[in-house]
């Protein structure tokens, strides 16, 4: 039996490559997500520079198309998703009072597969350019006949990173269902856990059709499948259905965790419990269900017929109701509270009106005949950036400022934080509000330029300037992170915000086993309950004993690498004169992947135990 000593004497790098600790994986997700966010953000800036004036020739149409595609794809799959996963990973086990997730190994696997998938997508730049058919990759434009290698990278990169996301999601579901501390019933779970659960379920049901769709596109591009070519009996609309069956739930996958974060931050800084908790849970479930029933609203102009369009329009409008419930519950959480405005709360509270602005344009889009006007114009671009930035990004920023002390042991600088917030907020409205009007006066989306004399110059210029202000805000955030790392006071208390949920009952920094004794939960907002009704500490639900911990493993990394190699080999099949034959590369990838799985399956790994004395020692140190 291995003991705790086995973890010593390892290099830092090795430690991070092999870690299965959910807190460290959260940090990895955070870093990877931030890097991808900055990358995609820079692409957006390039796009805005190109659109700053009429008939600008900073970028060619081809490059511009590659940039929009990569911007959209990276932002949704490789920036927003991992950032959300970062918080889910860090917070959910703590909030439900668990020592770890259900499958620590799978958790690490999910991260590395996602990461290598993202890498595969990104290396497309070095092999003749990125994908250029938009993040929606509509066929025939994305099919073998009209698109180059870039799309092979898109297809395989997303396929790989999708697998990573899928296995992580399964892990979260099982964690939340099976690993809750005693007394933590489903209806006592913090809303962030609820949204985490629902989102993971959405991932399981939405990423699988995506995998199927990507497989079809891959087969079309690499093996000559005829799914989309009308002359061969195929159909081009098929892809759009499959994509949006995934694509619409995907947008809720992104926004629900942001709702969750907001539902944590607003009560914490209003010092009031979440208004209408039950209704909030219910609304989340309804949104998730309806999210699967509305995808055709992206296809109103495809010409599916009036019955189809009407049905899906009504279903789409229906989503406004549960979302409205959430909005008003947040407002009434603040109502009658005692609100502290720091950066986290600024972001969280301003989320509410901003999101409503994006939401109502969504409902406008759902009016089918009027969508014939809006569709594929800048009005839609404005709609989703309002929701995504006003919703997801503000939510993530709120989460960052809120959980940062727990994650890194010090707060972010407040002055810089507030500067960032205002820059971001102003820049954001400047960039995107005006785009509504641009769409209405006839600017389609995904255009790399527009002609002079159509009245679009000024508005585009304003929009571009706004995007720079937003960029500056993100720059301030980056500066803040570096600055605070050196100049901020260490947090020594458990609970710097005087918050409500279980994660704040753990010591800072958190020991690797999270809780020396699993806590006994007695109420919703258990930590707040103990502070008010108890003695300010969590009651233990079990005696102190040896603590069982999982072993680290390099296999997740190797499997990720294997899938990367495999995917790359598949892309090579479409390359002209490769140095090594593609099947060799594919073979290597397959062997790495399945070999590691075989090893994992054959070697029984029961983890190790931290002996009681050591637990006691650690507990003394941190308190």
């Amino acid at each position: 039996m291995a003991t705790a000593t086995a973890t010593k004497d390892k290099s830092v790098l090795w430690d991070w490559l092999t870690t299965v600790d959910h807190k460290k994986l959260a940090v990895l997700y955070l870093i990877a997500g931030t890097l991808f966010f900055v990358k995609a953000g820079m692409m957006a800036l390039f796009m805005r520079i190109q659109l700053m004036s009429a008939e600008n020739d900073f970028l060619t149409g081809q490059t511009f198309n590659e940039l929009i595609t990569m911007h959209g794809t990276i932002m949704l799959f490789l920036a927003a998703t991992p950032l959300i996963f970062a918080f889910m990973n860090f917070v959910i086990p703590l909030q439900i009072g668990a020592r770890d997730v259900a499958f620590p190994f799978v958790n690490a696997l999910g991260f590395w597969i996602f990461f290598f998938g993202g890498l595969l997508l990104s290396v497309s730049w070095f092999f003749g350019g990125g994908p250029d058919a938009g993040w929606t990759a509509y066929v025939p434009l994305s099919s073998g006949e009209y698109a180059d290698l870039g799309l092979d990278f898109y297809v395989l990169g997303l396929q790989v990173s999708g697998i990573g996301t899928l296995v992580s999601a399964i892990n979260f579901i099982v964690t939340i269902i099976n690993m809750r501390a005693p007394g933590m019933t489903m209806m006592r779970m913090p809303l962030f856990c609820w949204t985490g659960l629902v989102v993971s379920i959405l991932i399981v049901f939405a990423f699988t059709p995506l995998a199927a769709g990507l497989a079809l596109l891959m087969l079309d591009r690499i093996f000559g499948g005829q799914f989309f070519i009308p002359d061969m009996g195929g159909n081009a609309v098929l892809w759009q259905h499959i994509f949006w069956i995934f694509g619409h739930p995907e947008v809720y996958i992104l926004v629900l965790p942001a709702f969750g974060i907001i539902s944590e931050v607003i009560p914490a800084f209003s010092r009031k419990r979440l208004f209408g908790y039950t209704a909030m849970v219910f609304a989340t479930l309804v949104i998730a269900f309806l999210g699967f029933m509305v995808w055709v609203h992206h296809m109103f102009t495809v010409g599916l017929g009036p019955i189809t369009n009407s049905v899906f329009a009504i279903a789409t409008m229906g989503i406004a109701v549960p979302t409205g419930i959430k909005i008003f519950n947040w407002l009434f959480t603040m109502w009658g509270g005692k609100i502290t405005f720091n950066t986290a709360m600024l972001c969280a509270s301003s989320f509410v009106p901003t999101f409503v602005l994006g939401g109502v344009t969504g409902v406008m889009l759902a009016m089918v005949p009027v969508d014939y006007l809006y569709h594929d114009t800048y009005f839609v671009v404005a709609h989703f950036h309002y929701i995504i930035i006003g919703g997801i990004v503000l939510g993530l920023l709120a989460g960052t400022y809120y959980w940062y002390p727990k994650m890194f042991g010090h707060k972010l600088n407040e002055k810089l934080g507030i500067l960032m917030f205002w820059l971001f907020y102003i820049g954001f409205h400047m960039t995107f509000f005006i785009q509504h009007i641009l769409g209405l006066i006839g600017m389609p989306r995904r255009v790399y330029t527009y002609l002079e004399g159509q009245g679009m110059e000024t508005m585009n210029l304003v929009s571009s300037i706004g995007s720079f202000v937003m960029g500056a805000a993100i720059l301030v955030l980056v500066i803040n992170v570096v600055y605070s790392a050196f100049n901020s006071e260490r947090i020594t208390v458990n609970d710097p915000w005087d918050a409500r949920t279980l994660e704040w009952s753990t010591p800072t920094p958190i020991p690797e086993y999270n809780f020396a004794q699993t806590p006994q939960v007695r109420s919703l907002d258990p930590w707040f309950y103990e502070k008010v009704h108890g003695d300010g500490t969590m009651k233990p639900a079990e005696p102190m004993t040896d603590i069982h911990m999982p072993n680290g493993s390099i296999l997740p990394f190797v499997i990720g690498l294997g899938l990367f190699t495999w995917g790359f080999g598949m892309v090579m099949m479409n390359m002209e004169n490769t140095i090594v034959p593609p099947f060799l590369v594919i073979g290597t990838g397959v062997i790495l992947t399945f070999g590691s799985m075989l090893i994992r399956s054959i070697k029984e790994d029961h983890g190790y135990h931290i002996p009681l004395e050591q637990v006691k020692k650690i507990e003394k140190e941190v308190s």
Binding site: A102, I173, N178, L219, M232
Partner: protein, 206 residues
């Protein structure tokens, strides 16, 4: 961890779920199957949407042979039964019996796969290549994906059989066998729809 189960009395009656790891695996796998359901539905939808699109190539009616499909169906259904019976043996701590039943399952699965490969080769000879038409592509994709699942299942179960051939039933391998058998049943369920929707409806010419 063993948790509340008293191990001194012998193998618990639900060895696959008597540890937390086992419980997690069990639930996680069901979730995965939930996802697989909708993934297969997508492929079924693709096939059904495109099955008229033969583009002048051979159509389902011309190609499919009923006896072959019938044999394949019987093989797979029977293998589903043997893997059920294997799980009963496992619960009763009858390790040898379980192994034998699992081996039979694998053999039946192999038979199925052999016929499927034969079938595909046959179709290619009759002019139904992968790129012949949308019907061909979606047929091979759907049925081939199922075949790939069968292949993966075979490799998986074989690995388990070899790895644990002399270890007896333990709280570690019981969930593994159980989950593998769930997977096998799921493959069978999918086949039920394949033989109905692809073959019988194809031959019936709806």
């Amino acid at each position: 961890m063993a948790g509340s189960v008293d191990l001194s009395k012998g193998l618990p009656s639900h060895p696959e779920k008597s540890t937390l790891e086992g419980k997690n695996k069990f639930l996680g796998f069901w979730i995965f199957l939930g996802g697989e359901t909708i993934m297969f539905a997508t492929f079924f939808g693709t096939f059904l949407g495109l099955r008229e699109g033969t583009a002048g190539g051979p159509s389902a009616e011309e190609l499919f042979s009923m006896p072959l499909v019938f044999i394949m169906t019987m093989l797979l259904l029977t293998s589903s039964l043997t893997s059920v019976l294997a799980m009963f043996s496992m619960k009763k701590n009858n390790f040898k019996n379980m192994l034998v039943l699992m081996i039979v399952t694998v053999l039946l699965g192999l038979g199925f796969l052999g016929f499927e490969i034969y079938e595909f080769v046959e179709y290619v000879h009759h002019g139904l290549g992968y790129t012949t038409s949308a019907f061909a592509s979606s047929f091979y994709t759907l049925v081939g994906l199922h075949g790939a699942h069968v292949l993966f299942g075979l490799c998986w179960i074989t690995t388990l059989i070899i790895r644990y051939s002399r270890s007896g039933i333990t709280l570690t391998n019981a969930p593994k066998f159980y989950v593998a058998s769930l997977y096998w049943h799921f493959i069978d369920v999918v086949w039920v729809f394949i033989f109905t929707v692809v073959y019988l409806m194809g031959i019936g010419g709806a």
